[in-house]
Protein backbone atom coordinates (compact mmCIF):
# COMPACT_ATOMS: atom_id res chain seq x y z
CA UNK A 1 0.00 0.00 0.00
CA UNK A 2 1.55 3.27 -1.14
CA UNK A 3 0.99 6.51 0.74
CA UNK A 4 0.65 9.80 -1.08
CA UNK A 5 1.00 13.32 0.27
CA UNK A 6 -1.95 15.37 -0.93
CA UNK A 7 -1.71 18.84 0.58
CA UNK A 8 -0.55 20.86 3.52
CA UNK A 9 -3.26 20.98 6.18
CA UNK A 10 -3.35 24.81 5.95
CA UNK A 11 -4.36 24.58 2.32
CA UNK A 12 -7.15 22.11 2.92
CA UNK A 13 -9.75 23.73 5.18
CA UNK A 14 -12.83 22.02 6.59
CA UNK A 15 -15.76 21.84 4.20
CA UNK A 16 -13.55 21.59 1.11
CA UNK A 17 -12.63 18.71 -1.14
CA UNK A 18 -9.78 18.05 -3.54
CA UNK A 19 -9.86 16.13 -6.75
CA UNK A 20 -6.81 14.21 -7.86
CA UNK A 21 -5.69 11.39 -10.02
CA UNK A 22 -3.28 8.84 -8.62
CA UNK A 23 -1.90 6.21 -10.96
CA UNK A 24 -4.78 6.85 -13.35
CA UNK A 25 -7.41 6.51 -10.65
CA UNK A 26 -9.73 9.49 -10.07
CA UNK A 27 -9.94 10.17 -6.36
CA UNK A 28 -11.43 12.84 -4.15
CA UNK A 29 -10.41 13.72 -0.61
CA UNK A 30 -12.82 15.51 1.73
CA UNK A 31 -12.17 17.52 4.85
CA UNK A 32 -15.27 17.16 7.04
CA UNK A 33 -14.84 19.15 10.25
CA UNK A 34 -11.14 18.32 10.42
CA UNK A 35 -11.50 14.65 9.52
CA UNK A 36 -10.27 13.51 6.12
CA UNK A 37 -11.86 10.91 3.87
CA UNK A 38 -10.89 9.59 0.46
CA UNK A 39 -13.25 8.10 -2.11
CA UNK A 40 -12.94 6.81 -5.63
CA UNK A 41 -14.42 9.54 -7.77
CA UNK A 42 -16.42 7.24 -10.01
CA UNK A 43 -19.93 6.10 -9.28
CA UNK A 44 -20.37 2.31 -9.43
CA UNK A 45 -23.75 2.82 -11.08
CA UNK A 46 -23.11 4.54 -14.42
CA UNK A 47 -19.74 6.14 -13.81
CA UNK A 48 -20.53 9.77 -12.90
CA UNK A 49 -17.92 11.83 -11.08
CA UNK A 50 -19.54 10.84 -7.79
CA UNK A 51 -17.62 13.21 -5.53
CA UNK A 52 -19.01 16.31 -7.23
CA UNK A 53 -22.33 15.59 -5.56
CA UNK A 54 -23.61 17.31 -2.44
CA UNK A 55 -22.90 16.06 1.06
CA UNK A 56 -26.14 15.41 2.83
CA UNK A 57 -27.39 13.48 5.84
CA UNK A 58 -29.02 10.09 6.06
CA UNK A 59 -32.81 10.01 6.15
CA UNK A 60 -34.19 6.84 7.69
CA UNK A 61 -37.60 5.85 8.90
CA UNK A 62 -38.76 3.08 11.19
CA UNK A 63 -42.40 3.86 10.51
CA UNK A 64 -44.20 6.03 8.00
CA UNK A 65 -44.34 9.50 9.50
CA UNK A 66 -41.23 9.05 11.62
CA UNK A 67 -38.06 10.36 10.08
CA UNK A 68 -34.60 10.29 11.56
CA UNK A 69 -31.93 12.42 9.94
CA UNK A 70 -28.41 11.53 11.00
CA UNK A 71 -24.82 11.51 9.69
CA UNK A 72 -25.15 15.11 8.60
CA UNK A 73 -22.50 15.92 5.98
CA UNK A 74 -21.30 12.32 5.78
CA UNK A 75 -23.38 11.02 2.91
CA UNK A 76 -22.50 11.87 -0.66
CA UNK A 77 -25.25 11.94 -3.23
CA UNK A 78 -24.29 11.17 -6.83
CA UNK A 79 -24.70 14.18 -9.14
CA UNK A 80 -26.50 12.04 -11.71
CA UNK A 81 -29.03 9.58 -10.31
CA UNK A 82 -28.73 10.42 -6.68
CA UNK A 83 -27.46 7.14 -5.23
CA UNK A 84 -26.20 7.77 -1.70
CA UNK A 85 -22.88 6.59 -0.26
CA UNK A 86 -21.32 6.86 3.17
CA UNK A 87 -18.06 8.73 2.73
CA UNK A 88 -16.51 7.00 5.75
CA UNK A 89 -16.91 3.52 4.31
CA UNK A 90 -18.05 3.81 0.69
CA UNK A 91 -21.17 1.82 1.51
CA UNK A 92 -24.20 2.50 -0.67
CA UNK A 93 -27.66 2.87 0.78
CA UNK A 94 -29.76 1.71 -2.15
CA UNK A 95 -28.14 -1.73 -2.31
CA UNK A 96 -25.37 -2.05 0.27
CA UNK A 97 -24.56 -5.66 -0.56
CA UNK A 98 -24.04 -5.16 -4.28
CA UNK A 99 -22.74 -1.63 -4.58
CA UNK A 100 -20.02 0.23 -2.79
CA UNK A 101 -17.50 2.80 -3.83
CA UNK A 102 -13.92 2.30 -2.85
CA UNK A 103 -12.91 4.30 0.20
CA UNK A 104 -9.27 5.29 0.76
CA UNK A 105 -8.01 6.05 4.25
CA UNK A 106 -6.76 9.62 4.58
CA UNK A 107 -5.23 11.29 7.60
CA UNK A 108 -2.78 13.92 8.79
CA UNK A 109 0.94 13.27 9.25
CA UNK A 110 3.56 15.66 10.58
CA UNK A 111 6.03 17.02 8.04
CA UNK A 112 8.93 15.27 9.73
CA UNK A 113 7.48 11.82 9.02
CA UNK A 114 6.37 12.81 5.54
CA UNK A 115 9.87 13.85 4.58
CA UNK A 116 11.18 10.48 5.74
CA UNK A 117 8.70 8.55 3.62
CA UNK A 118 7.73 5.98 2.37
CA UNK A 119 5.56 8.62 0.71
CA UNK A 120 5.18 9.85 -2.81
CA UNK A 121 4.84 13.58 -3.11
CA UNK A 122 6.36 14.75 -6.33
CA UNK A 123 3.75 17.39 -6.90
CA UNK A 124 3.95 19.43 -3.71
CA UNK A 125 6.88 20.81 -1.84
CA UNK A 126 7.04 19.44 1.69
CA UNK A 127 8.40 21.26 4.73
CA UNK A 128 9.29 19.49 7.96
CA UNK A 129 7.49 22.02 10.18
CA UNK A 130 4.06 21.62 8.51
CA UNK A 131 1.35 18.94 8.74
CA UNK A 132 0.18 17.12 5.62
CA UNK A 133 -2.84 15.17 4.49
CA UNK A 134 -1.86 11.70 3.37
CA UNK A 135 -3.95 9.16 1.51
CA UNK A 136 -3.25 5.44 1.29
CA UNK A 137 -3.83 3.30 -1.75
Amino acid sequence: MARHVIAAVDEFPPGTRKFLEIDGRPIAIFNIKGEYFGLMNRCPHQGAALCEGPLIGLAQSKDPGEIEYTKLGEIIRCPWHGWEFDIRTGQSYCDPRRFRVKAYPAHVEPGASVVKGPYVAETIAVKVESDYVVVEL
Partner: protein, 369 residues
Amino acid sequence: MNIQFRESSEAASPLAVKAAIADCDIHPARATRAELYPYLAKRWQHHLEVYGVHAYQGMMEGPPYPKAQPNASRRDAYPPEGGPQGSSLSFMQKQLLDPNNVQLGVLNPLNTGQGIRNHELSAALCSAINDWQIDKWTSKDKRLKASIVVGNEDGLSAAAEIRERAGDKNFVQVLLLSRNVEPLGQRRYWPIYQAAEEAGLPVGVHAFGFGGNPITPSGWPSYYIEEMVGHSQCQQSALASLVLEGVFERFPKLKMVMIEAGFGWAPSLAWRLDKVWQRLRSEVPHVKRPPSEYIREQVWWTTQPMEDPERREDLFDVIKWIGWDRLLFATDYPHWDYDEPSRVLPAGVNDDDREAFYLGNAKKLYGIA
Protein backbone atom coordinates in the same frame (compact mmCIF):
# COMPACT_ATOMS: atom_id res chain seq x y z
CA MET B 1 4.67 12.11 -11.43
CA ASN B 2 1.83 9.94 -10.29
CA ILE B 3 -0.53 12.48 -8.72
CA GLN B 4 -2.39 15.08 -10.74
CA PHE B 5 -4.36 17.76 -9.01
CA ARG B 6 -7.49 19.26 -10.50
CA GLU B 7 -9.82 22.15 -9.97
CA SER B 8 -12.77 19.79 -10.22
CA SER B 9 -13.21 16.36 -11.63
CA GLU B 10 -14.71 17.78 -14.81
CA ALA B 11 -11.63 17.05 -16.93
CA ALA B 12 -12.09 13.33 -16.47
CA SER B 13 -9.95 11.04 -18.53
CA PRO B 14 -11.21 10.93 -22.13
CA LEU B 15 -13.62 8.12 -22.80
CA ALA B 16 -12.63 5.43 -25.21
CA VAL B 17 -13.76 6.17 -28.75
CA LYS B 18 -17.13 4.54 -29.22
CA ALA B 19 -19.23 3.77 -32.23
CA ALA B 20 -21.39 6.70 -33.30
CA ILE B 21 -24.75 7.02 -31.58
CA ALA B 22 -27.99 8.96 -31.86
CA ASP B 23 -29.34 10.70 -28.80
CA CYS B 24 -33.07 11.08 -29.28
CA ASP B 25 -33.91 13.16 -26.23
CA ILE B 26 -31.78 16.22 -25.50
CA HIS B 27 -33.19 19.21 -23.63
CA PRO B 28 -31.83 22.58 -24.64
CA ALA B 29 -32.56 25.36 -22.15
CA ARG B 30 -32.79 29.11 -22.40
CA ALA B 31 -30.37 31.10 -20.29
CA THR B 32 -32.97 33.88 -19.87
CA ARG B 33 -36.53 34.54 -20.93
CA ALA B 34 -35.30 37.50 -22.98
CA GLU B 35 -33.43 35.05 -25.21
CA LEU B 36 -36.77 34.50 -26.94
CA TYR B 37 -37.62 38.16 -27.48
CA PRO B 38 -35.88 38.47 -30.85
CA TYR B 39 -38.33 35.89 -32.15
CA LEU B 40 -41.45 37.29 -30.52
CA ALA B 41 -43.54 40.13 -31.90
CA LYS B 42 -43.56 43.26 -29.73
CA ARG B 43 -47.20 42.56 -29.01
CA TRP B 44 -46.30 39.33 -27.25
CA GLN B 45 -43.26 40.72 -25.49
CA HIS B 46 -45.53 43.34 -23.95
CA HIS B 47 -48.16 40.75 -23.20
CA LEU B 48 -45.64 38.67 -21.28
CA GLU B 49 -44.46 41.71 -19.31
CA VAL B 50 -47.98 42.87 -18.46
CA TYR B 51 -49.97 39.65 -18.08
CA GLY B 52 -47.43 36.84 -17.81
CA VAL B 53 -48.21 33.28 -18.75
CA HIS B 54 -51.32 31.46 -17.60
CA ALA B 55 -51.06 27.72 -17.84
CA TYR B 56 -53.80 25.19 -17.33
CA GLN B 57 -51.61 24.00 -14.54
CA GLY B 58 -50.28 26.00 -11.60
CA MET B 59 -46.59 26.57 -11.00
CA MET B 60 -45.52 26.03 -14.57
CA GLU B 61 -42.45 28.25 -14.45
CA GLY B 62 -41.10 27.09 -11.12
CA PRO B 63 -41.30 23.42 -10.35
CA PRO B 64 -43.75 22.56 -7.55
CA TYR B 65 -40.80 21.04 -5.72
CA PRO B 66 -37.13 20.62 -6.59
CA LYS B 67 -36.83 17.60 -8.83
CA ALA B 68 -34.12 15.46 -7.27
CA GLN B 69 -31.28 17.69 -8.48
CA PRO B 70 -31.20 21.43 -9.25
CA ASN B 71 -33.38 22.15 -12.31
CA ALA B 72 -33.95 18.39 -12.47
CA SER B 73 -30.51 18.26 -14.06
CA ARG B 74 -27.13 16.72 -13.57
CA ARG B 75 -25.10 18.69 -11.08
CA ASP B 76 -22.08 18.53 -13.30
CA ALA B 77 -23.94 20.05 -16.25
CA TYR B 78 -23.81 23.73 -15.29
CA PRO B 79 -22.02 25.51 -18.12
CA PRO B 80 -18.79 27.19 -17.02
CA GLU B 81 -20.00 30.52 -18.43
CA GLY B 82 -23.10 30.42 -16.18
CA GLY B 83 -26.78 29.86 -16.94
CA PRO B 84 -28.88 26.76 -16.36
CA GLN B 85 -27.90 23.26 -17.41
CA GLY B 86 -28.46 22.71 -21.11
CA SER B 87 -28.18 26.40 -22.05
CA SER B 88 -24.71 26.33 -23.61
CA LEU B 89 -24.02 24.74 -26.97
CA SER B 90 -20.25 24.67 -26.49
CA PHE B 91 -20.56 22.93 -23.14
CA MET B 92 -23.10 20.47 -24.53
CA GLN B 93 -20.62 19.67 -27.29
CA LYS B 94 -17.86 19.13 -24.79
CA GLN B 95 -19.85 17.18 -22.23
CA LEU B 96 -22.26 15.19 -24.37
CA LEU B 97 -21.82 15.28 -28.14
CA ASP B 98 -18.05 14.92 -28.58
CA PRO B 99 -17.11 12.34 -25.93
CA ASN B 100 -20.08 10.12 -26.78
CA ASN B 101 -19.63 10.41 -30.52
CA VAL B 102 -23.20 11.60 -31.01
CA GLN B 103 -23.95 11.68 -34.71
CA LEU B 104 -27.60 12.71 -34.41
CA GLY B 105 -29.03 14.64 -31.47
CA VAL B 106 -32.76 15.36 -31.33
CA LEU B 107 -33.70 18.45 -29.35
CA ASN B 108 -36.87 18.39 -27.26
CA PRO B 109 -37.26 21.75 -25.54
CA LEU B 110 -39.48 21.80 -22.46
CA ASN B 111 -41.11 24.80 -20.76
CA THR B 112 -42.09 26.07 -24.17
CA GLY B 113 -45.45 27.54 -25.00
CA GLN B 114 -47.41 24.35 -24.62
CA GLY B 115 -50.31 24.05 -22.22
CA ILE B 116 -50.94 27.80 -22.10
CA ARG B 117 -54.54 28.95 -21.82
CA ASN B 118 -54.19 31.89 -24.20
CA HIS B 119 -53.88 29.98 -27.45
CA GLU B 120 -52.54 32.91 -29.48
CA LEU B 121 -49.77 33.44 -26.95
CA SER B 122 -49.14 29.70 -26.92
CA ALA B 123 -48.73 29.65 -30.71
CA ALA B 124 -46.45 32.71 -30.67
CA LEU B 125 -44.20 31.27 -27.97
CA CYS B 126 -43.95 27.89 -29.70
CA SER B 127 -43.05 29.53 -32.98
CA ALA B 128 -40.43 31.66 -31.22
CA ILE B 129 -38.92 28.56 -29.62
CA ASN B 130 -38.72 26.90 -33.02
CA ASP B 131 -36.85 29.89 -34.48
CA TRP B 132 -34.59 29.92 -31.44
CA GLN B 133 -33.80 26.22 -31.91
CA ILE B 134 -32.55 26.93 -35.42
CA ASP B 135 -30.63 30.07 -34.53
CA LYS B 136 -28.99 28.89 -31.37
CA TRP B 137 -28.61 25.16 -31.95
CA THR B 138 -29.23 23.39 -35.24
CA SER B 139 -27.64 25.99 -37.51
CA LYS B 140 -24.55 25.96 -35.31
CA ASP B 141 -24.06 22.21 -35.03
CA LYS B 142 -25.18 19.97 -37.86
CA ARG B 143 -25.45 16.97 -35.57
CA LEU B 144 -28.41 18.57 -33.83
CA LYS B 145 -31.96 18.42 -35.17
CA ALA B 146 -34.96 20.13 -33.65
CA SER B 147 -38.50 19.08 -32.76
CA ILE B 148 -41.28 21.40 -33.87
CA VAL B 149 -42.99 22.63 -30.74
CA VAL B 150 -46.65 23.44 -31.32
CA GLY B 151 -49.44 25.13 -29.40
CA ASN B 152 -50.93 21.73 -28.72
CA GLU B 153 -54.31 22.71 -27.31
CA ASP B 154 -55.31 24.48 -30.50
CA GLY B 155 -55.02 21.86 -33.21
CA LEU B 156 -55.46 24.33 -36.05
CA SER B 157 -52.69 26.74 -35.13
CA ALA B 158 -50.51 23.76 -34.28
CA ALA B 159 -51.09 22.32 -37.73
CA ALA B 160 -50.25 25.70 -39.29
CA GLU B 161 -46.93 25.76 -37.45
CA ILE B 162 -46.13 22.24 -38.67
CA ARG B 163 -46.96 23.15 -42.27
CA GLU B 164 -44.79 26.22 -42.08
CA ARG B 165 -41.81 24.17 -40.91
CA ALA B 166 -42.43 21.16 -43.15
CA GLY B 167 -39.51 20.44 -45.44
CA ASP B 168 -37.09 22.46 -43.30
CA LYS B 169 -34.20 20.09 -42.65
CA ASN B 170 -33.60 21.61 -39.22
CA PHE B 171 -36.67 19.75 -37.95
CA VAL B 172 -37.21 16.01 -37.67
CA GLN B 173 -40.33 15.60 -35.53
CA VAL B 174 -43.33 17.30 -33.95
CA LEU B 175 -43.29 17.47 -30.18
CA LEU B 176 -46.23 16.93 -27.84
CA LEU B 177 -46.32 16.22 -24.13
CA SER B 178 -48.17 13.38 -22.43
CA ARG B 179 -50.21 15.38 -19.95
CA ASN B 180 -52.69 17.54 -21.84
CA VAL B 181 -56.13 19.00 -21.32
CA GLU B 182 -57.65 15.86 -22.80
CA PRO B 183 -56.32 12.41 -23.76
CA LEU B 184 -54.23 12.73 -26.89
CA GLY B 185 -56.46 10.71 -29.18
CA GLN B 186 -59.31 13.21 -29.05
CA ARG B 187 -60.44 15.17 -32.06
CA ARG B 188 -59.04 18.56 -31.02
CA TYR B 189 -55.56 17.14 -31.63
CA TRP B 190 -56.26 15.52 -34.98
CA PRO B 191 -55.15 18.47 -37.14
CA ILE B 192 -51.71 17.96 -35.58
CA TYR B 193 -51.60 14.34 -36.69
CA GLN B 194 -52.87 15.19 -40.13
CA ALA B 195 -50.23 17.87 -40.68
CA ALA B 196 -47.47 15.65 -39.29
CA GLU B 197 -48.49 12.77 -41.50
CA GLU B 198 -48.54 15.02 -44.56
CA ALA B 199 -45.12 16.40 -43.66
CA GLY B 200 -43.76 12.90 -43.09
CA LEU B 201 -42.72 13.84 -39.57
CA PRO B 202 -43.05 11.52 -36.57
CA VAL B 203 -44.90 12.91 -33.55
CA GLY B 204 -42.97 12.58 -30.31
CA VAL B 205 -44.92 12.42 -27.07
CA HIS B 206 -42.62 13.39 -24.24
CA ALA B 207 -43.50 12.67 -20.62
CA PHE B 208 -44.71 15.69 -18.69
CA GLY B 209 -46.99 18.54 -19.64
CA PHE B 210 -49.11 21.34 -18.33
CA GLY B 211 -52.64 20.21 -19.08
CA GLY B 212 -53.83 20.76 -15.54
CA ASN B 213 -54.55 17.11 -14.81
CA PRO B 214 -52.76 15.25 -12.05
CA ILE B 215 -50.00 12.95 -13.18
CA THR B 216 -51.78 9.92 -11.73
CA PRO B 217 -55.35 8.86 -12.43
CA SER B 218 -55.96 8.75 -8.69
CA GLY B 219 -55.07 12.38 -8.05
CA TRP B 220 -52.10 14.51 -7.04
CA PRO B 221 -49.43 12.40 -5.36
CA SER B 222 -47.37 13.37 -2.34
CA TYR B 223 -43.94 12.52 -3.66
CA TYR B 224 -41.75 13.18 -6.64
CA ILE B 225 -41.05 9.48 -6.94
CA GLU B 226 -44.75 9.00 -7.66
CA GLU B 227 -44.55 11.62 -10.37
CA MET B 228 -41.61 9.76 -11.90
CA VAL B 229 -43.55 6.52 -12.20
CA GLY B 230 -46.72 8.42 -13.04
CA HIS B 231 -45.20 9.35 -16.38
CA SER B 232 -45.59 5.83 -17.66
CA GLN B 233 -49.22 5.65 -16.49
CA CYS B 234 -49.89 8.94 -18.20
CA GLN B 235 -48.22 7.77 -21.40
CA GLN B 236 -50.27 4.58 -21.31
CA SER B 237 -53.51 6.56 -21.22
CA ALA B 238 -52.28 8.72 -24.07
CA LEU B 239 -51.41 5.69 -26.16
CA ALA B 240 -54.68 3.89 -25.39
CA SER B 241 -56.54 7.04 -26.42
CA LEU B 242 -54.60 7.29 -29.70
CA VAL B 243 -55.51 3.71 -30.55
CA LEU B 244 -59.12 3.74 -29.36
CA GLU B 245 -60.13 7.10 -30.79
CA GLY B 246 -58.97 5.77 -34.13
CA VAL B 247 -56.00 8.08 -34.72
CA PHE B 248 -53.81 5.30 -36.08
CA GLU B 249 -56.67 4.02 -38.22
CA ARG B 250 -57.41 7.49 -39.61
CA PHE B 251 -53.70 8.36 -40.14
CA PRO B 252 -52.06 5.08 -41.16
CA LYS B 253 -48.73 6.67 -42.05
CA LEU B 254 -48.48 8.51 -38.75
CA LYS B 255 -45.49 7.54 -36.63
CA MET B 256 -45.51 8.18 -32.90
CA VAL B 257 -42.51 8.21 -30.59
CA MET B 258 -43.07 7.62 -26.89
CA ILE B 259 -40.37 9.63 -25.14
CA GLU B 260 -39.06 9.25 -21.60
CA ALA B 261 -41.75 7.12 -20.08
CA GLY B 262 -40.22 3.66 -20.33
CA PHE B 263 -41.23 0.85 -22.64
CA GLY B 264 -41.43 -2.17 -20.34
CA TRP B 265 -45.17 -1.61 -20.01
CA ALA B 266 -45.81 -1.76 -23.75
CA PRO B 267 -46.53 -5.49 -24.06
CA SER B 268 -48.90 -5.67 -21.11
CA LEU B 269 -50.83 -2.61 -22.25
CA ALA B 270 -51.16 -4.10 -25.72
CA TRP B 271 -52.25 -7.50 -24.38
CA ARG B 272 -54.88 -5.91 -22.20
CA LEU B 273 -56.13 -3.69 -24.99
CA ASP B 274 -56.39 -6.65 -27.35
CA LYS B 275 -58.29 -8.73 -24.86
CA VAL B 276 -60.81 -6.06 -24.00
CA TRP B 277 -61.17 -5.03 -27.64
CA GLN B 278 -62.23 -8.57 -28.54
CA ARG B 279 -65.14 -8.17 -26.14
CA LEU B 280 -66.04 -4.54 -26.64
CA ARG B 281 -65.19 -4.17 -30.30
CA SER B 282 -68.62 -2.91 -31.23
CA GLU B 283 -68.19 0.17 -29.03
CA VAL B 284 -65.26 1.29 -31.18
CA PRO B 285 -65.97 -0.18 -34.63
CA HIS B 286 -63.54 2.35 -36.14
CA VAL B 287 -60.76 0.36 -34.47
CA LYS B 288 -60.64 -2.29 -37.14
CA ARG B 289 -57.70 -4.36 -36.00
CA PRO B 290 -56.43 -5.58 -32.64
CA PRO B 291 -54.88 -2.57 -30.86
CA SER B 292 -51.49 -4.28 -30.59
CA GLU B 293 -51.17 -4.23 -34.36
CA TYR B 294 -51.38 -0.45 -34.55
CA ILE B 295 -48.94 -0.14 -31.68
CA ARG B 296 -46.36 -2.40 -33.23
CA GLU B 297 -46.65 -0.77 -36.62
CA GLN B 298 -46.84 2.89 -35.73
CA VAL B 299 -45.06 3.40 -32.41
CA TRP B 300 -41.35 3.85 -31.55
CA TRP B 301 -39.88 4.22 -28.07
CA THR B 302 -36.95 6.19 -26.71
CA THR B 303 -34.95 4.22 -24.18
CA GLN B 304 -34.27 6.64 -21.37
CA PRO B 305 -34.96 5.98 -18.51
CA MET B 306 -33.85 2.57 -19.64
CA GLU B 307 -35.65 -0.40 -18.09
CA ASP B 308 -33.26 -2.12 -15.70
CA PRO B 309 -34.68 -5.43 -14.44
CA GLU B 310 -32.63 -7.74 -12.28
CA ARG B 311 -32.52 -10.42 -14.97
CA ARG B 312 -31.38 -9.09 -18.31
CA GLU B 313 -33.39 -11.87 -19.98
CA ASP B 314 -36.53 -10.08 -18.79
CA LEU B 315 -35.38 -6.95 -20.59
CA PHE B 316 -34.62 -8.88 -23.74
CA ASP B 317 -38.06 -10.52 -23.66
CA VAL B 318 -39.76 -7.15 -23.54
CA ILE B 319 -37.58 -5.78 -26.32
CA LYS B 320 -38.26 -8.81 -28.40
CA TRP B 321 -41.98 -8.10 -28.21
CA ILE B 322 -41.48 -4.43 -29.05
CA GLY B 323 -38.85 -5.13 -31.70
CA TRP B 324 -35.16 -4.24 -31.73
CA ASP B 325 -36.02 -2.01 -34.68
CA ARG B 326 -38.33 0.15 -32.53
CA LEU B 327 -36.04 1.47 -29.80
CA LEU B 328 -34.28 4.81 -30.06
CA PHE B 329 -31.41 5.42 -27.69
CA ALA B 330 -31.66 8.60 -25.61
CA THR B 331 -29.72 10.14 -22.74
CA ASP B 332 -32.15 12.85 -21.59
CA TYR B 333 -29.20 15.21 -21.19
CA PRO B 334 -28.86 17.34 -19.10
CA HIS B 335 -31.52 15.91 -16.82
CA TRP B 336 -30.54 14.07 -13.69
CA ASP B 337 -31.86 10.69 -14.75
CA TYR B 338 -29.50 10.79 -17.73
CA ASP B 339 -28.51 7.39 -19.18
CA GLU B 340 -24.82 6.90 -19.90
CA PRO B 341 -24.49 5.36 -23.39
CA SER B 342 -21.70 2.96 -22.51
CA ARG B 343 -23.51 1.59 -19.47
CA VAL B 344 -27.17 1.04 -20.30
CA LEU B 345 -27.27 -1.97 -22.57
CA PRO B 346 -26.37 -5.29 -20.95
CA ALA B 347 -24.07 -7.73 -22.69
CA GLY B 348 -25.53 -10.35 -24.98
CA VAL B 349 -26.88 -8.20 -27.81
CA ASN B 350 -25.73 -8.99 -31.30
CA ASP B 351 -23.97 -6.35 -33.39
CA ASP B 352 -26.89 -5.61 -35.70
CA ASP B 353 -29.35 -5.07 -32.88
CA ARG B 354 -26.83 -2.99 -30.98
CA GLU B 355 -26.24 -0.76 -33.98
CA ALA B 356 -29.99 -0.38 -34.56
CA PHE B 357 -30.55 0.46 -30.90
CA TYR B 358 -27.84 3.11 -30.73
CA LEU B 359 -28.08 4.66 -34.18
CA GLY B 360 -29.71 2.86 -37.10
CA ASN B 361 -33.35 3.04 -35.97
CA ALA B 362 -33.11 6.76 -35.28
CA LYS B 363 -31.47 7.57 -38.59
CA LYS B 364 -34.14 5.65 -40.42
CA LEU B 365 -37.08 7.09 -38.51
CA TYR B 366 -35.84 10.66 -38.68
CA GLY B 367 -34.68 10.36 -42.29
CA ILE B 368 -31.04 11.15 -41.66
CA ALA B 369 -28.74 9.83 -44.36
